[in-house]
């Protein structure tokens, strides 16, 4: 049985630069193949080469063998543009990543959906309309004919992201192609919508026998929908195997690294670290027991000693932490009582309604929720960027700092790193250190000296793990992960105890994310900081945060210990949210 699609040694280059090197993979009929990799790995570019949609200046070498409906094997790279156009649509469907920009904004849904049929078939108008309505039903957008007719007349701006992706899916599937190439189709969507779309894709694939190539950087999604996986890194295929084998018996170093980061294997919270240490001890003890039969008596004695010691240690830890908790309880860094936040000056339309939360010293509070639930609005009011709110926000921190989501927009592109790190010091005075205040000594507030500023810059760069030479660089010379580190360094310069992080790792690759999270934890411990951590990634929140607030439609619907809320949600919405998260 010939493969449906076979890439033989496909290399893509832009001008003189080769970006993918000798990519080979196979796909059989009806199979779902996942391609996983970080940004720059070449996954999208390889698929662009297959569909002949490479950006200007792109050239592909190698062979892309495709088995058409008539049973011919053709090389997609060597046929003419005209021929390719026929195949795109009838044989191969494509779904792009950005639902907001992949539909033509000036044409109706019906127009765009029927275009496929008009271009490739000779069906009559009524039949075309019938087929379109059928398709809309299959992707779960409409249930009745009237709703369908209405939808056909709508324009893309009237639909949400999830609805637009389903329209894309309908357009891609309407001619019953043998292959669908989906390039990160759910990355820009909320977790519950993602769940729906993945379900629809699975169903359609089964019903029509369509093969799917699913590109994603999210291993959880790949695990759910694909049967085989291709792992790519820096333009090369690193490993290809079944889902089971990749997840349980990864062979290559990079695959192992990726899995480790994605599975969030390393514990970040104090209590998780304790648990991990305990588990490790248990594991090593059971290993020893199974190995030594005879010497067991002595070993047992020493083991039980150890166990007793460990037990005591753990108990002590607990006692210590209890004491610590008590004193921390008295030190609430932030109290938010019944706060409603507005964007309009008249305070008539609340975006956030009656939110209440507290953050203790040393705590990491997570805020989760889908887009539009009000998480960013709430924290902007907390840090003082939005002054239109009702209710009480009191904090012991004079200037709460914030780390933003998009590393490419949060650093001023025209200023050197050194300048950016010094800026907070230019704008604030040096006050009497607490120790002297306690002794009753008051020094006059003064400006930072040049030497102090330089010293602080070097300290900050070291603290976030960046080389000191970076001070002289401009933001566009740094990668996304490095820029986030600079943003974190900037937030630390003023020594403020409360730092708000708005999706700080969402735009970063999973291995970089790992490093940044570890950095955040170590900084917290070193400088006794408290964080508010907003994320849509529930797994990260569970791993990093002590407590979590779940927001929906501007209200906090559930609050509590992070592990509890994620594993045993009580509120209906929270239950829905947690069940939609792809599990690894």
């Amino acid at each position: 049985m010939p493969h449906l699609l076979e890439l033989k040694d496909v290399s893509v280059s832009f001008g003189k630069k080769e970006v993918t090197h000798g990519v080979s993979l196979t796909l059989d009929e009806g199979e779902v193949l996942g391609i996983v990799g970080e940004s720059g790995s070449g996954k999208s570019v390889s698929m662009h080469a297959v569909t002949r949609l490479l950006a200007q200046g792109g050239r592909a070498k190698g062979k892309v063998l495709f088995n058409t409906k008539n049973g011919e094997m053709i090389d997609l790279l060597s046929i003419s543009d005209k021929e390719m156009r026929v195949h795109r649509g009838t044989e191969i469907g494509i779904i792009f990543q950005e639902p907001m920009t992949s539909l033509n904004p000036v044409l109706t849904i019906g127009n765009q959906l029927s275009e496929m049929l008009v271009l490739h078939t000779e069906m009559e108008k009524e039949k075309i309309k019938e087929r379109c309505l059928e398709m809309l039903n299959e992707v779960g957008l409409v249930k009745s004919e009237e709703a369908g007719e209405e939808l056909l007349k709508k324009y893309p701006y009237q639909l949400s992201g999830g609805e637009r992706q389903r329209v894309m899916l309908a357009i891609a599937m309407i001619l019953k192609p043998r292959l669908i190439i989906a390039d990160e189709p759910t990355t820009a969507l909320d977790v519950t919508i993602q769940d729906k779309i993945l379900t629809i894709m699975e169903e359609l694939s089964k019903e029509y026998g369509t093969a799917i190539i699913f590109i994603s950087h999210d291993l959880g999604v790949i695990k759910r929908i694909a049967k085989r996986v291709v792992v790519m890194y820096k333009g090369k295929v690193v490993e290809t195997d079944t889902i089971e084998n990749i997840f349980e018996r990864p062979k290559q170093e990079y695959t192992k690294l990726l899995l480790k980061a994605a599975l969030h294997a390393d514990p970040l919270k104090a209590k998780d670290k304790e648990k991990a240490a305990k588990d490790k001890d248990k594991a090593s003890k059971s290993d020893k027991a199974s190995k030594n039969g005879k010497a067991s008596k002595n070993d047992k004695a020493s083991k039980s000693d150890k166990a007793a010691k460990n037990g005591n240690e753990v108990a002590d830890n607990k006692a210590d932490s209890n004491v610590q908790n008590k004193s921390e309880n008295e030190q609430a860094v932030l109290t938010v009582k019944d706060v409603s936040v507005f964007y309009d000056k008249k305070k008539e339309k609340p975006i956030v309604k009656n939110a209440s939360l507290t953050v203790k010293r040393g705590e990491i509070l997570g805020i989760v929720g889908e887009s539009g639930c009000g998480k960013s609005t709430l924290v902007k009011a907390i840090v003082g960027l939005n002054k239109l709110y009702d209710g009480e926000i009191s904090t012991s921190c004079r200037h709460p700092q914030m780390v933003f989501q998009d590393p490419y927009a949060s650093l001023n592109p025209s200023k050197k790193i050194e300048w950016l790190l010094m800026e907070p010091m230019r704008l604030h005075m040096v006050h009497t250190p607490k120790e002297l205040l306690a002794q009753g000594i008051h020094l006059k507030a003064r400006k930072y000296t040049r030497e102090e500023m330089k010293k602080k810059v070097n300290e900050s760069l070291e603290a976030v793990g960046l080389p000191l030479e970076y001070a002289d660089r401009y933001p566009n010379e740094l990668s996304g992960g490095e820029r986030q580190r600079v943003a974190i360094a900037m937030s630390l310069v003023l020594g403020q105890e409360l730092i708000v992080l708005d999706e700080p790792v969402s735009a970063l690759d999973v291995t970089v994310e790992e490093k940044v999270l570890k950095l955040l934890v170590s900084l917290k411990e070193k400088y006794s900081l408290s964080y508010i951590f907003i994320s849509h990634d529930i797994n990260v929140v569970k791993r990093l945060c002590d407590n979590v607030c779940v927001m929906h439609n501007g209200e906090i619907v559930e609050r509590g210990d992070a592990d509890e809320v994620v594993d045993n949600p009580k509120d209906d919405y929270t239950k829905k949210l947690m069940s939609a998260v792809p599990k690894l």
């Binding site: 840090v383 003082g384 960027l385 200037h399 709460p400 700092q401 914030m402 933003f404 989501q405 998009d406 927009a409 949060s410 650093l411 001023n412 592109p413 025209s414 200023k415 800026e423 907070p424 704008l427 604030h428 943003a487 900037m490 003023l494």
Partner: protein
């Protein structure tokens, strides 16, 4: 920069450089005194001693073009700078703050912009008389609205970006945010509009002088020379060609530089 853009830039630079030589000569030392008349040299054809020939009054055309280019250059530069600086200040403030300030200033802007520039110039001249400095002020004021609008739209985009919010959190005042943080990021657009503005200023000055509203004779001015040479176009075409070509090369060179920097 891509190869294409580099070539464009170099060609533009060469052209502008050529004109700048003329301008420098106009300031320092021209081959002949541009205002010395010589009856024997009337309508002299271009020769080695007079590369651009002489005009209807026997004055050396090359020297007059050099003097005229320097005058045009000063007027053009000053006009653009007035428009750019004041326009950016107005545009940045209105773009950043929005609200009532924006509405009021933009309506004033629109009022100014809705007057045909020639009309405005005429009014100015009627009120304040002609002369080099008066043209500069007249044209400069006319140029303010477009720069203000460009700066404003750029600021509206930039002010919503994260780095601006970050600066505010760190403690930057609005003033500091506008002029220290955001302004450097508008460099590209402002430079682009500067080149376009300079061209328009050159053409505007030439136009006004053509209509005898600008610098007065006997001061040399490219526009004036064009006007005077019109009558003699067929008898002594070099009288019109020299100033005309200079204007074209200046505008073309600056345009090419502006395009290559986009």
């Amino acid at each position: 920069m891509s190869k294409e853009k580099k070539t464009t830039f170099i060609i533009g630079l060469v052209l502008v450089g050529f004109v700048l030589l003329f301008v420098l000569a106009g300031f320092i030392h021209t081959p002949y005194n541009p205002n010395t008349m010589a009856a024997s040299l009337k309508f002299a054809k271009p020769s080695l001693s007079h590369p651009f020939g002489c005009d209807n009054m026997g004055r050396d055309v090359l020297s007059r073009v050099m003097k005229g280019a320097s005058t045009t250059f000063i007027i053009g530069m000053s006009t653009v700078l007035i428009g750019l600086v004041i326009g950016t200040i107005i545009g940045s403030i209105t773009g950043y703050f929005g609200g009532i300030v924006d509405e009021i200033l933009m309506r004033l802007n629109d009022t100014l912009a809705s007057f045909p520039s020639i009309l405005m110039a005429l009014v100015f001249v009627a009120l304040f008389g002609t002369g080099k400095y008066k043209i500069i002020i007249a044209l400069g004021v006319i140029f303010i609205p477009s720069f203000a609008r460009i700066a404003r739209s750029e600021y509206i985009v930039q002010k919503n970006l994260d780095y601006v919010s970050n600066a505010r959190l760190i403690g930057a005042s609005n003033f500091r945010n506008i002029f220290v943080h955001i302004l450097p990021n508008t460099r590209k657009i402002m430079l682009s509009s500067f080149t376009i503005g300079f061209n328009n200023a050159v053409l505007a000055e030439a136009g006004m002088s053509y209509m005898a509203l600008g610098v007065q004779p006997p001061t040399a001015s490219l526009g004036r020379m064009l006007a005077e040479s019109q009558v003699y176009l067929f008898r002594a075409p070099w009288m019109a060609l020299a100033p005309g070509l200079t204007i074209v090369i200046t505008v073309l060179g600056v345009s090419l530089i502006g395009n290559s920097l986009k």
